[in-house]
Structures are given as C-alpha cells and as structure tokens.
C-alpha cells in the first residue's frame, strides 16, 4: 500500500468514525439539529473521500465494482494483512 493510499484511507477512517459516533448520538437524540448538521456535513465529506478512494484503489464494498473486464472485489490485500503476506504463499 503506497503512502498516498494510506493517507487517503486514514482520512476515510477518521471521517467514518466521526459518522459512527454521530450515529450513536442521533439514535437517542433524533431531533438535535446541531448533531444532524454535524452528521450531514461529514457524510458529504465521506462520500467524496470514498469516491476518490474507490476510483484510485478499487472497491470498498462489493457495490463499488468499477471494471467490466474483471472482478476487483476479491483482489489482495485484504484489510487484515500486509502487502507482503500475499506474495509469500505462491509455490
């Protein structure tokens, strides 16, 4: 994973975590307009970051497939592994 990809992923993780926290708060405070505004603002940010990420580095969900030649979804690496892990198993 390149430095640039790692940076963009970090941005996505930060934005997504903000949304996770805001979701939990809104679940029990559904009419808090400040929290709603906060959620909506970051949701727009997340959409933009996720669009850029999937365009450059492939799908985040199976619905993000962006190739009509091959299925990108299963491509290595998977989130729990480092790039090197994928290369040392071939015989």
């Amino acid at each position: 994973m390149t430095n640039e990809q790692q940076k963009l992923l970090k941005k996505l993780q930060i934005c997504d975590f903000v949304l996770t926290e805001a979701t939990l708060y809104l679940d029990t405070h559904p009419n808090n307009t400040m929290a709603l505004e906060y959620f909506n603002k970051h949701n727009e940010m997340r959409k933009e970051i996720s669009r850029e990420y999937t365009e450059k580095y492939g799908p985040l969900t199976r619905f993000d497939n962006n190739s009509d030649r091959s299925w990108q979804w299963t491509k290595n690496p998977w989130p729990w592994e480092n790039m090197e892990d994928c290369n040392n198993v071939e015989l």
Binding site: W73, N76, W78, V89
Partner: protein, 210 residues
C-alpha cells in the same frame, strides 16, 4: 468493517403465530448447524485463507449468513407474537418462556445454548473448506426437516429460500476448494499448508525429507 442495511434479504410475513414451530426453528439460529455458527465459522476461517478468491468467498458467505441470522430471528419473532399464557402452556413454549419470555436467544431446539463447540477453524484451508461443504449440507437437511414439520406457506416460503441458499453456498465452497487445490502440488495437497508453511520453509522441509 461492516455496515447494516435496514431490510431483510428475503421477506418474512407470517400471519399466524405458532410457538410449537418456533421451538424447532430456533435450532437454525443457535443450533449445531445454525446460521450463527455458520457466520462465526466462515468469518473466523477467512484469516487462514491463502488465496484471494477464498478470502472473498468466506467473507461474502459469512456476511450473507448474518443476514440469515436476521431472517430466522424475524421468523421466530413473528411466530411468537401476541401469545396468551394459555397458548404458551399448551404449546410447550413455557420451558423457553420462563427464561427468555418471547425474546430471541440463540440456542438449539434441544435447549442447549449456542456454542462454538460445533464449529471449527483449523488454520488449514483444505480442512476448513471441507468442513464448510459438510456444514452447508447439514444446514440444508435441517431445513428439509423443518419443511416436514409445517404446512404453513408463510413459514415454508422463507425456509425454502434459506434451503436453496445452502445449496448455492455448497457449490461456491466447492469452487473455493478447487481453487485451493489448483494452487497446491497435485501429487500431494497435504505436503504444504499454504496458510502456515512459507515458501522457503517448504524448501527446507523437502530437503530434510530427502
């Protein structure tokens, strides 16, 4: 990372509650070949999957099993709505009711609580995928038995859908096992565990054997 979608994979709309039936269908939630075990099995096994296709299939089937946990829970919820104490006593549902009321608790029809003692994650992809093939067949036959126990079309319809998914998963696990074998030594698949033995280590094992 997971996200929840607020819908069922396939609709569940049961008009007539039937606690007797809930008592047996609960096995497909928390029983030995139930959906919770299936999801736990595949989502745990995927870390030992050495090939991208196998990581994909274990992740995606494991995720679909979580949707099946939700479908079975919805069936149980609808089968145990608006029960009178008399109905609870007569149906034999009282033995569940005393501990769980009409809440959803993962257990087998026998009363045994959900346990990972009925699943495996061996760290060996051939062993894991062979277990997965058997698991899908065992779940399929459990659905066959459930279909033998009810003639309510509202219950049979989603159960038939779940049964058909077991067969589709069996076929995809067959593909995953083929991919795994194709990547190994066709003369002896078991000479090398691709999830544990590394390329150089494999060479060392061979030279030691010689």
């Amino acid at each position: 990372m997971w996200n929840y979608e607020k819908r069922l994979e396939y609709p569940v709309k049961i008009k007539n509650p039937c606690p007797e039936l809930a008592k047996v269908i609960i096995s497909q939630l928390g029983g030995p070949d139930g959906e919770l075990g299936a999801a736990t099995r595949y989502l745990s096994q995927r870390y030992a999957a050495p090939y991208s296709e196998v990581k994909g299939i274990l992740t995606d089937i494991g995720t679909e099993e979580l949707a099946h946990v939700e479908m079975i829970s919805a069936i149980l919820y609808q089968l145990t709505r608006n029960l009178s104490i008399d109905e609870i006593k007569k149906s034999g549902f009282d033995t569940y009711f005393v501990d769980h009321t009409t809440g959803i608790y993962p257990m087998a029809a026998s009363g045994t609580p959900f346990s990972t003692s009925t699943i495996q994650s061996t760290g060996d992809p051939i062993a894991d995928l062979t277990e997965d093939l058997a698991a899908e067949q065992k779940a399929r036959l459990t659905y066959d038995n459930i279909l033998r126990l009810t003639d309510d079309p509202d219950v049979r319809d989603p159960i038939k859908f779940l049964r058909a998914r077991e067969i589709a998963h069996f076929q995809r696990f067959g593909d995953a096992l083929r991919v795994t074998r194709d990547n190994l030594d066709s003369k002896n698949f078991y000479a090398f565990n691709p999830a544990f033995d590394k390329k150089n280590k494999y060479k060392n094992i061979n030279s030691r054997r010689r």
